[in-house]
């Protein structure tokens, strides 16, 4: 699993002002995990390298959004814990 400087947890949908704020704070060694309503961003993917952003599987499934991103980018809660534990910092937006 990729080791991140900062993991950004984003649960806001694309039109929420804090979504743009979050994206402007993602640095080149960071990663982004979309959760809850934040997974709606898979329909308007962020300008971040594919290996550095992820979406939580159960939230994608709930919203009928599976199949829009590569399986490598879909995480379970286990994967969320792994990313959170291994990152240097975690910011919840």
């Amino acid at each position: 699993m990729i080791k991140l400087k900062t993991l950004h947890l984003l649960n806001k949908p694309p039109e929420h002002s804090r979504q743009a704020l979050c994206l402007s704070a993602v640095g080149p060694e960071d990663g982004l995990l979309l959760i809850e309503n934040g997974v709606l961003a898979v329909t308007q993917p962020p300008q971040i390298a594919a290996e550095r952003w992820f979406a939580l599987g159960p939230d994608l499934e709930a919203r009928g959004l599976t199949g829009l991103i590569s399986e490598d980018q879909v995480l379970s809660f286990e994967g969320m814990v792994e990313l959170t534990a291994s990152a240097e910092n975690v910011i919840s937006w």
Binding site: L21, S24, G27, N89, S92
Partner: protein, 116 residues
């Protein structure tokens, strides 16, 4: 562990900012390094001349002005947001300074947190 508490909601419309201030003041009271960052609509916390008497809330200006005395290391305002809300440096309370929001700023702290 140094902390940056971020406020992006404007004052008086909800209590999130007040609860963020409580977080910052608590850290300072326990001698933990903490700074406050106001961005988005949150920069309006720093506007001079607030009088909240007629909405029956406590005005936050005095609390914020006292923040450095209580140990909060900096009151930072995002420059872009200040522009959007028509705030020149002289419109802000004097304890605040304008900064650029981005990974260089957030990367300086061990913790970055919102109150909600």
């Amino acid at each position: 562990m140094s902390t940056l508490i971020v406020i992006d909601q404007p004052p008086y419309g909800s209590w999130e900012g007040r609860e963020a201030l409580d977080m910052a003041f608590s850290l300072a009271a326990f001698d933990q390094p903490v700074s406050l960052l106001f961005c988005g609509a949150g920069v309006n916390w720093l506007r001079q001349g607030q009088d909240a008497a007629r909405v029956q809330q406590k005005s936050v200006e005095r609390n914020l002005a006292a923040a450095p005395i209580f140990g909060v290391e900096a009151l930072l305002a995002d420059g872009q947001a200040c522009l959007r809300y028509g705030l020149a440096a002289t419109d802000l309370i004097e304890q605040a300074s304008i900064t650029d929001f981005g990974p260089e700023l957030t990367g300086r702290f061990d913790h970055v947190a919102f109150a909600g």
